[in-house]
């Protein structure tokens, strides 16, 4: 168990010197002992690279990794005391389920009595007890992945357990069960867990801190609520939430934003915007209501309505830009022309895709 610090950690698979070409751009951050983290981002954004750097499968080309203040950057995976579960099940064919679970402990010379105790406990937590004496090859993919998870969790002294999209091969129904199980295991075993996924639901339900990555960069790290209410980057805005945040180019001056000839009031004042930057406003569909067109409202044309059961979203067009907004309960638009009513407290301003804090 340990606190993990990354200091200017970056990785380039080639030997290019241009930072923009790195698979992982320099990142400095701290993973607290006992935290449940999710690394969220689309495929190819560098999540797995970051994970493999922490576990030592890759050695970083730049920067340092510290476990409890000790620099372990150059240490091998074996010396790091990290557990990792991979996307596809890895099981040792010749062994039984029990031997598979015991393998990481046996390799480290843990006494037999202790091994038996841990294996029995993990098997109980993952419902593998009836299969302990079966050959692991004869099980289904689900069960095999449970064994992989079990091998990751069986060591009680690990600095962290890393999960690399471990539920990809699992049936949707079992996915839910296993995810809540992992969450329960996290509470019970007090382990630091880092969970890589491209599925926002998975990330938001599992983690207390979600780290969003985009194009090799960590763009925001925060609680699910923070990511939702105040995305630090336009990417976080539209990647998290369904539908994602609306992003529109705008002219922002003081407490006003001008979009397509309409003036929108803002709740904060933006006086010191960087010159020459691309200025956009971002607002989640949940905080924009569709209304009958009227003075003071942004004019838009409605294209279709998505009924999600609990809530309805209208897909509309503002000028050339696509936009999503909430349809209040009981409201039905009389034509395609509608007005949009913004909740100013949730309208954010972005300069070159990054959030600008208003005064």
């Amino acid at each position: 168990m340990a606190r993990i610090d990354l200091e200017g950690l970056a990785h380039s698979y080639g030997n290019g010197s241009d930072v923009e070409s790195y698979a992982l751009k320099p990142v400095t951050m701290t993973w607290r002992q006992g935290g449940a983290y999710a690394l969220l981002g689309p495929s190819g954004c560098g999540k797995t690279t970051l994970l493999n750097l922490i576990s030592g499968i890759l050695t970083p080309s730049h920067g340092k990794i510290l476990f409890d203040g000790v620099d372990i950057t150059q240490r091998s995976t074996r010396e790091r005391n990290i557990a990792q579960v991979f996307q596809f099940p890895v099981i040792y064919d010749t062994m039984t389920v029990g031997e598979n679970l015991a393998f990481p402990l046996k390799n480290r010379g843990v006494p037999k009595a202790e091994i038996d105790k841990r294996v029995a406990e993990i098997a109980r937590l993952l419902d593998l007890t009836p299969d302990l004496n079966r050959k692991a090859t004869r099980l289904t993919a689900d069960a095999k992945q449970k064994i992989s998870l079990g091998r990751g969790l069986v060591r009680s002294d690990v600095a962290a357990v890393l999960f690399d999209e471990p539920l990809t091969v699992i049936d949707p129904e079992l996915k839910w069960q296993l995810r809540s199980k992992l969450k329960a295991l996290h509470r019970e075993l007090d382990l630091t867990m880092i969970y890589v996924t491209h599925d926002q639901t998975e990330a938001l339900t599992f983690a207390d801190t979600v780290v969003v990555m985009h194009d090799g960069r960590v763009v925001q790290s925060g609680t699910p609520a923070e990511l939702f209410d105040k995305p630090a980057h336009t990417f976080v805005g539209y990647f998290i939430g369904s539908p994602g945040m609306n992003i529109l180019s705008a002219d922002v001056k003081g407490r006003e934003a001008r979009i397509a000839g309409h003036t929108l009031a803002l709740s904060r004042s933006y006086d010191a915007l960087p010159a020459g930057a691309k200025i956009e406003i971002g607002v989640r569909p949940e905080f924009v209501d569709v209304a009958q067109p009227g003075p003071g409202l942004l004019d838009a044309n409605i294209e279709r309505v998505d009924d999600l059961g609990r809530i309805r979203f209208a897909r509309v067009r503002v000028g050339d830009a696509k936009f999503a907004a909430r349809l209040p309960a009981g409201f039905s638009p009389s034509g395609s022309a509608i007005g949009l009513k913004f909740n100013p407290a949730y309208v954010h301003v972005y300069a070159d895709s990054r959030l600008v804090e208003g005064a």
Binding site: I57, I82, Q84, Y92, M95, F103, N107, L139, T140, A143
Partner: protein, 300 residues
């Protein structure tokens, strides 16, 4: 399943049947025919029933003694080359690079012995091993070893086995290499995470994953070495004495040397039968091993 009865379909099978008849069944029946008869030349044949087969299995007769002795040599030879080539092939495969231009280089070098015709391999070793002009034989004698495969039985065996190892270890190595390449990286990464030693990686991951290609390698090498003829014939001619006379060499001696067609036919039928049985046993083992590895439905 309902079967459609259509007698015209037999006409479609007929060409294959004719081909097989002329290429396999008729020649084989000629052999069966010979095996029941004796000849003193002049194309005169006399009925002998199962006499030759009885003699074959009776070590006190000349034919039986020669057959059983050469069968013993064949088995020892096959076991010896398997015991060397399989572990050696695995070691070679394990020490090959996994990526980069060196892979292509290693593969080409490994494949070289496999491309050389059998009798050329024999000739190479026949000259290579000579004590007077051969590099190998001369060197051994120069460092004080009394090596002469023409007069010493142990040296002759040593030469024949080394020659086969030189010729065929590549095949085992290439098969094992293919097996190793098919193991996903995640297995090695997981083993690192689990703190497995090099030996544990070998026994827990690499060996089980090579299981099927190894079975194929053993099957191929067994069949091939059990039928070996050309190389020892060229190098030692079956000698010194009869010490490296394998079944195939014995067979040629009887059939073409002594022109004992009946004995030779009986011997070749039994030889064929042995190979068929071994093939069947291997095939059964392999298919069973495959079935055992398939996951059982509802096993979770």
């Amino acid at each position: 399943m309902d079967k459609t009865i259509n007698n015209k379909a037999w006409f479609l099978v007929l060409p294959v049947f004719l081909l097989v008849a002329f290429s396999a069944i008729l020649p084989l029946m000629t052999v069966v025919n010979y095996s029941m008869q004796d000849t003193f030349g002049n194309n005169q044949f006399f009925w002998n029933g199962v006499g030759w087969f009885k003699e074959l299995l009776d070590p006190s007769t000349d034919l039986g003694g020669r057959f059983l002795a050469s069968l013993g040599r064949n088995l020892i030879f096959s076991l010896a080359i398997l015991a060397i080539e399989v572990p050696l092939g695995i070691v070679v495969a394990l020490s090959m690079p996994r990526a980069g231009w060196t892979v292509a280089f290693c593969l080409v070098v490994l494949a070289l012995p496999l491309l050389i015709p059998w009798n050329v391999v024999g000739t190479i070793w026949q000259i290579f091993g000579r004590a007077d002009i051969g590099l190998f034989g001369y060197t051994l004698n120069a460092i004080g070893l009394d090596y002469n495969y023409v007069s010493n039985e142990a040296d002759a065996w040593f030469t024949v086995i080394v020659m086969d190892v030189w010729h065929w270890t590549s095949l085992v190595a290439l098969l094992c290499y293919a097996g190793l390449k098919s193991i996903p990286d995640a297995y090695y990464q997981a083993a690192q995470i689990d703190g497995a030693s090099r030996w544990a990686v070998f026994t827990a991951i690499q060996l089980p994953k090579m299981h099927r290609v190894l079975l194929i390698a053993v099957l191929l090498r067994f069949m091939d070495s059990f039928m070996i003829y050309t190389e020892p014939f060229v190098v030692t001619g079956g000698g010194p004495g009869n010490s490296t006379t394998f079944i195939s060499i014995e067979l040629v001696k009887i059939a073409l040397g002594q022109f004992d067609l009946g004995k030779a036919a009986a011997l070749s039928l039994v030889y064929n039968l042995i190979i068929l049985i071994v093939c069947w046993v291997f095939y059964t083992i392999m298919t069973n091993a495959g079935a055992e590895r398939r996951p059982v439905e509802g096993g979770a």
